[in-house]
């Protein structure tokens, strides 16, 4: 059976899938969108994070079929090609990106946080990013990036 879903505003039809397949697998292997990273496939690392109907989820834990007729936003959908959004720019400037593997997941979690709470305190930032692991940065620069993005978005109103 066909799988029909909207990703980054565009409707996709996937001719056939394995019924036990995850949304992450469909995004990466069938739609050629490698932004959501595959690391643990068990919800532990957050690097596969995407928005499903505007809710932050681990795409490795969503059955692709559950995304049928729903709307997915991946890191590729946050800004036009060759451009970056405010959160992405803040990550670049603060040195929050080292190997970059965890970055798409952190960006999605930060986007989600700042939409719900534009000026979060540190405790709130830590709670919001608790589902994302980074093996390079030691997290401090990532916290800086979130604070910077929050300040810039606040200034932009």
């Amino acid at each position: 059976m066909k799988l029909i879903l909207t990703v980054n505003g565009e409707t996709h039809e996937v001719e056939s899938i394995w019924e036990g397949e995850s949304l992450m697998h469909v995004l990466r292997e069938r739609l050629g969108l490698p932004g959501a990273k595959n690391a643990c496939e068990q919800g532990e690392c957050g690097s596969c994070s995407v928005m499903l109907d505007e809710v932050l989820v681990c795409s490795c834990l969503v059955l692709a079929r559950q995304a049928q007729d729903r709307s997915v936003v991946t890191v590729e959908g946050l800004a036009p090609p060759d451009d970056v959004g405010v959160v992405q720019q803040a990550f670049i400037e603060t040195g929050a990106v080292q190997c970059g593997f965890c970055t798409p997941g952190f960006i999605m979690a930060t986007e989600d946080l700042l939409r719900r709470s534009p000026a979060p305190g540190d405790a709130e930032i830590r709670e919001a990013l608790a589902g994302n692991l980074c093996r390079c940065t030691g997290y401090e620069k990532i916290l800086d990036a979130v604070r910077l993005a929050s300040a810039r978005l606040g200034a932009m109103g």
Partner: protein, 288 residues
């Protein structure tokens, strides 16, 4: 695997359950997808419950909350404040935002892990599990629903439809021990609920016995202390010795084992600390 079943209402879901006994129900998938991703499970097909309208919401009926099986942990965190605060506090300790946005109360109950974080507050509240099949519905107290680690009384043709939880009549607390503040399967956990109307104290221990257990001796002990001192009417400070004894009796009610997450001895020690702490938090709140 055969085509996934995606019913939109409960009647269709129950009919699908009856017609396809080999179909595995899936709600948020946070337990099941791990098993599929790692080839630990290959069901014939999946029965997707995320579109079943009746499971998705919650409601208040008099002095009870009827929480649909499909309500996520994230919603419990925001919606249960003031109504079933212990359940909200426990839900906030589940996994991460991503897991809480997807994982459901029904999935937590059906998995029936002794470490399921929604379970201690539900047992302490005296919650009932509502189940239905194509041939009827029934309701069972959660303490009877759970029969052992990952075992329960649900029949193969049944679904959990809702959880019935009495609205809180006093402070409720939940605390959990683990190596981090997030993403932790409980080493052990404890719920303490005060009912200022009935003048009772209820407890439930997680992850330190084959299933969730109440510490009834601890409950009786502290109810006796409170009654003797007339403390429900004139809530003064609780003596440190009573808090300590309460903690000891909580620890004594556990039947912990040694496993990768912690030793039995550590679990007992931690439960005594959690007992003291959660009771004193509750009591401070009651006095305020």
């Amino acid at each position: 695997m055969q085509a996934t079943l995606q019913p939109r209402d409960l009647a269709d879901a129950l009919a699908a359950r009856a017609a396809h006994p080999g179909a595995l129900p899936m709600a948020g998938g946070t337990d099941l997808m791990v098993e599929l991703n790692f080839d630990r499970r290959r069901p014939e097909r999946i029965l997707d419950l995320t579109r079943v309208a009746e499971l998705a919401g919650w409601d208040r009926e008099g002095d009870e909350l009827v929480i649909g099986a499909g309500v996520t942990h994230a919603r419990l965190v925001t919606d249960m404040r003031g109504l079933a605060p212990g359940l909200g506090i426990a839900a906030r300790t589940v996994g991460s935002p991503q897991i809480r946005n997807r994982g459901t109360i029904g999935g937590n109950i059906a998995t029936s892990s002794p470490a399921g974080d929604a379970l201690p507050p539900l047992v302490a509240s005296g919650a009932r599990i509502e189940m239905a099949s194509a041939s009827g519905a029934r309701s069972v107290p959660l303490s009877e629903f759970l029969t052992g680690p990952k075992r329960n009384v649900m029949a193969p043709d049944e679904l959990i439809t809702a959880v019935r939880v009495p609205v809180a009549q006093g402070p409720q607390q939940f605390a959990k021990v683990g190596p981090r503040n997030a993403m932790v399967i409980a080493v052990c956990s404890l719920s303490v609920h005060l009912d200022a109307v009935e003048q009772t104290v209820r407890t439930a221990i997680g992850s330190a016995a084959p299933t969730i257990v109440r510490a009834t001796e601890a409950e009786e002990f502290i109810e006796g202390v409170l009654e003797e001192r007339g403390a429900w009417e004139r809530p003064g400070p609780l003596p440190a010795s009573a808090l300590t004894r309460f903690g000891e009796l909580v620890a004594a009610a556990a039947r912990p084992i040694d496993d990768v997450r912690g030793s039995a001895g550590y679990r007992r020690h931690a439960l005594a600390v959690l007992g003291r702490r959660t009771l004193s938090w509750c009591w401070q709140e009651h006095r305020a």
